[in-house]
């Protein structure tokens, strides 16, 4: 196992080392100690490796991640797993604003709470939050799933496209064009698979409500043609 101590090594040393790894690397297990709120820890990794970060991180941890399993044993600052492509990022503590923003694939698991704008403009990422999420989450969310075991803040799913939102607790308010939708069998199935993937058991899919787009905002309505 490679251990990198960020109180000794520079952030650039760490990220360059991680960028040298590719498919088939022998150095599969990585540990980062003393992250002490550093920004951009383990950003841009493109290899199927496991990275354990022992402490809390600052902005943009695990951004653009491809293939790697990255676990933060602490809390994460703004923009964690921003634009993730694939792989899995797990935050043992809380995540700050815009977690998983613009993510295109992979799984982001937040074991604590996520604050505002979680999953903003998500484009295929799956996000599972054990706690609560803040206001304006899933704003303009295009595709992928956002699963929340706790409550959601104001304006959930404002201007949403085709992402699917599952919330177990209360939703303070829904954003423009976001509505509650029926949980059909395929949604129970997809949700059960996501919960299992995130390692969550003892929670029934029937406890969740589904939210998504009313499709009145982003689709052109011929009756409105005169307005243009």
């Amino acid at each position: 196992m490679r251990t990198i101590d960020l109180s000794k090594a520079t952030l650039r040393d760490l990220n360059q080392d991680l960028h040298r790894q590719a498919e088939g690397t022998n150095e599969v297990e990585w540990e980062v100690v003393n992250p002490r709120g550093h920004h951009a820890v383990a950003v841009g990794v493109d290899a199927p490796i496991n990275i354990n970060i022992k402490g809390s991180v600052g902005y943009y941890c695990a951004g653009m991640n491809k293939k790697a399993n990255i676990t933060v044993h602490g809390s994460a600052g703004p923009g964690v797993a921003e634009n993730m492509m694939s792989g899995c990022v797990t935050i043992k503590g809380d995540a700050s604003q815009y977690a998983g923003a613009t993510g295109r694939g992979g799984l982001l698991v937040i074991e604590g709470n996520a604050s505002s704008r979680c999953g903003i403009s998500m484009k295929g990422i799956d996000i599972v939050v054990r706690g609560n999420i803040g206001h304006m989450s899933a704003f303009m969310a295009q595709s992928g799933h956002l699963v929340v075991l706790g409550d959601a803040g104001d304006a959930l799913g404002d201007s949403i496209y085709e992402a699917k939102l599952f919330v177990r607790g209360n939703v303070k308010s829904l954003g423009a064009d976001c509505i509650e939708k029926e949980m059909r069998p395929e949604h129970h199935e997809a949700l059960a698979a996501l919960l299992a993937k995130a390692g969550i058991s003892g929670v029934k899919t029937s406890e969740f409500k589904r939210y998504g787009s009313a499709r009145k905002l982003y689709t052109f309505n011929i009756d409105n043609a005169d307005a243009y």
């Binding site: 709120g37 600052g58 809390s75 809380d94 505002s116 803040g134 206001h135």
Partner: protein
């Protein structure tokens, strides 16, 4: 972008380290605000005395005769302790208003940064660690301190444009963000006799809170009111003689992290600002909620 740090000590044993801890916190926020920095330190009160912190662009000319001139003008002893471009004047509490008036009328090149029983305010243009060294923050002691590193977006990079802003006795405010209705608010406050030193939006926020507290509200109530009356982006950290408060606007895009232990309450724009505090690994660490007032009083 700006950086904010704040430390409110609960355990007296930590008070001698207030300056040292705040200096380290401030140094972590240099890249959030490299153009100027400032801090307010709430130190020990001296019975019957008030402190007035003043600043001069030409301290060698302005400070040497200042104490004697003020003593003469107000008819009471004034002591002066100089720190670089700033000086703390100690005056009998009953004569504090007279001393401030005498400074304004007789010493126009000397600017009043703040006054009160315990507050001292230091701020300058420059890299935050240099500013902190310039005033020897690391050796200051006290009960609470608030610091700011500024990346100016809204008004000029000047000493007076740096934070904290103090608009009432023992009050100060630092701000990360920008207001959009400060011109209107300033006009309204001016009607009520509030005066302003700068064109800065944050000064208006500070004056607003002072105005509310003058109406009899406590710090927490004044902060709550600000949610209705201030428009824009803000994370504020404010200090009073006995209190320490935090509030974020409802959109809450300006970052904030807080930590609390039995020994202290701490604020940082980022977690990096908190990592050197004693016992941080066991502290309760959280992100303050939008549109929610947090305040502590001793």
């Amino acid at each position: 972008m700006c950086g904010i740090v704040g430390l409110f000590i609960k355990d007296k044993a930590l008070e001698p380290q207030l300056g040292a801890l705040t200096a380290v916190m401030l140094s972590t926020m240099c890249d959030r605000g490299p153009d100027s920095a400032g801090f307010a330190v709430y130190g020990a009160p001296h019975a019957g005395k008030s402190k007035i912190t003043v600043q001069s662009a030409d301290p060698d000319k302005d400070f040497p005769g200042l104490a004697a001139a003020l003593t003469n003008a107000i008819g009471a002893d004034v002591a002066l302790a100089q720190k670089s471009t700033h000086a703390v004047l100690t005056v009998p509490a009953a004569k504090a208003d007279a001393a401030r008036a005498a400074i304004r009328s007789g010493h126009p090149s000397v600017r009043i940064m703040g006054s009160g029983d315990t507050i001292e305010i230091y701020k300058e243009v420059g890299y935050p660690t240099d500013v902190s060294k310039q005033f020897d923050l690391a050796h200051m002691t006290g009960t609470h301190a608030i610091g700011h590193t500024r990346m100016a977006t809204e008004s000029a990079v000047t000493t007076l444009g740096a934070h904290p802003f103090s608009t009432g006795p023992d009050q100060c405010l630092v701000h990360n963000g920008s207001l959009s209705n400060h011109h209107n608010l300033k006009r309204e406050l001016s009607h009520d006799g509030i005066t302003f030193e700068t064109d800065n939006d944050s000064e208006v926020a500070a004056a607003y809170l002072t105005w509310r507290m003058n109406q009899g509200l406590n710090l927490g109530e004044a902060l709550k009111k600000s949610l209705d009356d201030l428009d824009g982006f803000f994370t504020f950290v404010v200090g009073t003689k006995n209190g320490f408060g935090v509030i974020r606007d409802p959109i809450a895009c300006k970052p904030a992290v807080m930590a609390e232990t039995d020994q202290y309450v701490a604020f940082g724009s980022e977690y990096r600002a908190l990592v050197n505090l004693p016992g941080i690994d066991r502290a309760k660490v959280w992100e303050p909620e939008p549109a929610t007032v947090y305040f502590w009083e001793r």
